[in-house]
């Protein structure tokens, strides 16, 4: 019943997302961002040169979505992919696994661990992974197009410090939440303990009623 319910919910969500063309909206935004990144880091285009016009399909298992990526030598193109779409390389994994692909050395390790399926040319996936892991945008240079060099450098340092602080805060919050859950675990009893406690309660109750009966008998005898 629960699974039927979740299937209906998932179908409704898919219908809504199809009606609103959400995958197309999201991919069009990502495509714009990535192409801007290509402009900001010219080395990225060079790294992708060897896989020009090769089609990589990334299947995100937990989102039940697949997307295709093509680099045409100048721009990246991102589209949804259908089951029958042809490809030069296909990667299938859940989103958390895909996020670890920033490190290209992880690819073979994840395949061995059965966390990732790869079909086709491994080199394409490695090239994408390697290119984006080496991403290096000269932010002070970019900012200096809109402000003096010193201000651009200062802005970059401030943003870097904010980013660093945000990461620290996030680590601390995660640690705090984990510790709270652990404390919660310590004060919350296990269901078996609860059952045992209930059983003991019932035993005490039986003893009390037996004692009450004996006292009543004694009182009646004395009277």
């Amino acid at each position: 019943m629960a699974s039927e319910h979740s299937e209906i919910e998932s179908t409704t969500c898919n219908d809504a997302s199809q009606f609103l063309l959400l995958p197309q909206i999201v991919l069009s935004i990502i495509e714009k961002v990535l192409n801007q990144v290509l402009v900001l880091d010219p080395l990225l285009s060079q790294s992708l040169e060897t896989i020009q016009h090769k089609r990589l399909i990334v299947e995100i298992r937990d989102w039940q979505q697949a997307l295709q990526i093509v680099f045409d030598g100048k721009r990246l193109h991102l589209f949804t992919a259908a089951r029958d779409s042809d490809y030069d390389c296909l990667i299938s994994a859940d989103i958390n696994t895909l996020l670890t692909l920033k490190n290209p050395a992880m690819l073979t390790q994840l395949i061995r661990q059965d966390k990732l399926d790869l079909q086709g040319d491994l080199n394409i996936a490695q090239t994408y992974s390697g290119a984006f892991s080496k991403l290096n945008i000269d932010w002070p240079e970019q900012f200096s197009k809109y402000m003096p060099d010193a201000a651009a450098q200062q802005l970059y340092l401030n943003l870097k410090s904010i980013h660093h602080n945000a990461l620290n805060a996030s680590t601390k919050i995660n640690a705090l939440v984990s510790s709270l859950f652990q404390d919660e675990l310590a004060v919350t009893i296990h269901p078996l303990e609860l059952a045992q406690f209930k059983q003991r309660n019932r035993d005490v109750k039986n003893h009390v009623s037996a004692l009450e009966q004996r006292i009543n008998v004694l009182i009646r005898t004395l009277n």
């Binding site: 199809q18 009606f19 063309l21 197309q24 909206i25 991919l27 069009s28 020009q52 016009h53 089609r55 295709q68 093509v70 045409d72 030598g73 100048k74 721009r75 193109h77 589209f79 949804t80 992919a81 259908a82 779409s85 042809d86």
Partner: protein
């Protein structure tokens, strides 16, 4: 919807001489060409870009492919195809209307897209290409304006290479009653008014609304494609069936 068999056809809700339709449609597009892109964005709230993205995603276009973007108008699909086929491929932007082709050519030149695009004025019913010429043919928001749709589909089938595919992106019939009513209200009340205000041409947009209602629904068009010889014909409703993307293969 059945095509009127004799010498008449539909022009919106009007029945006109079949020989006159092409020139009447041409007049509509001569009139709207200059404001075509702006009106598309306004009328569809920009969603036409997403419908076209889905068409490209389903096209399977690759480097070296020969693509015909029929009724390609201002070249939205051609722009993307030109980048995807690379320097070894070729895209033909075809349209019956010279004004639309002119706007399309100017737009693509301004985008720096030159070298692998040809611009050809052509009638979809008699495509001027040898048999088995193209890997992919697309016709986006154009088929409903064609006088003899069956003839046009047969012509497309003829020039497709074996293994090639046709994609028809066209307005269709919404699948839900409420959506259908809202869409009717929008099409017949707001659309002509927007046409009047922005393009100073309410009649062309009245024709647009009427021609959409006279266009075959999803299953009828699928049947017409099969009749023309296409195989593995399927369609995908977009935005609740306001638009449908039909796909068929030639083997």
């Amino acid at each position: 919807m059945k095509e009127t068999p004799e010498k008449t056809t539909h022009f919106g809700y009007k029945t006109v001489d079949a020989n006159d339709k092409a020139s009447m449609v041409a007049d509509v597009f001569h009139s709207v060409a200059a404001k075509y892109d702006v009106m598309n964005d306004l009328m569809s709230f920009g969603v036409h870009r997403l419908w076209k993205r889905q068409t490209i995603a389903s096209s399977g276009v690759r480097k070296g492919h020969y693509v015909l973007d029929l009724a390609g108008g201002t070249g939205d699909l051609t722009a993307k195809f030109s980048q995807l086929v690379g320097d070894t491929g070729q895209v033909v932007l075809g349209d019956i209307n010279s004004s639309m082709l002119k706007v399309g050519r100017e737009k693509l030149h301004n985008l720096g897209l030159v070298g692998n695009i040809d611009y050809v004025q052509m009638n979809a019913e008699a495509l001027p290409f040898p048999d088995n010429s193209f890997d992919v043919i697309t016709i986006a928001f154009g088929l409903r304006n064609v006088t003899d749709k069956n003839k046009a589909l047969r012509s497309m089938y003829r020039i497709l290479k074996p293994g090639g595919r046709l994609l028809v992106l066209e307005f269709s019939k919404p699948k839900h009653e409420v959506l259908s009513k809202a869409y009717d209200f929008y099409s017949f009340n707001l659309l002509p008014t927007m046409g009047k205000l922005v393009a100073n041409d309410s009649e062309s947009y009245q024709y647009l609304a009427e021609s959409i209602r006279m266009h075959p629904d999803q299953d009828t068009l699928k049947g017409m494609m099969e009749e023309a010889g296409f195989e593995q014909t399927t369609y995908q409703n977009l935005t609740g069936g306001i638009v449908a993307l039909h796909r068929g293969f030639k083997y």
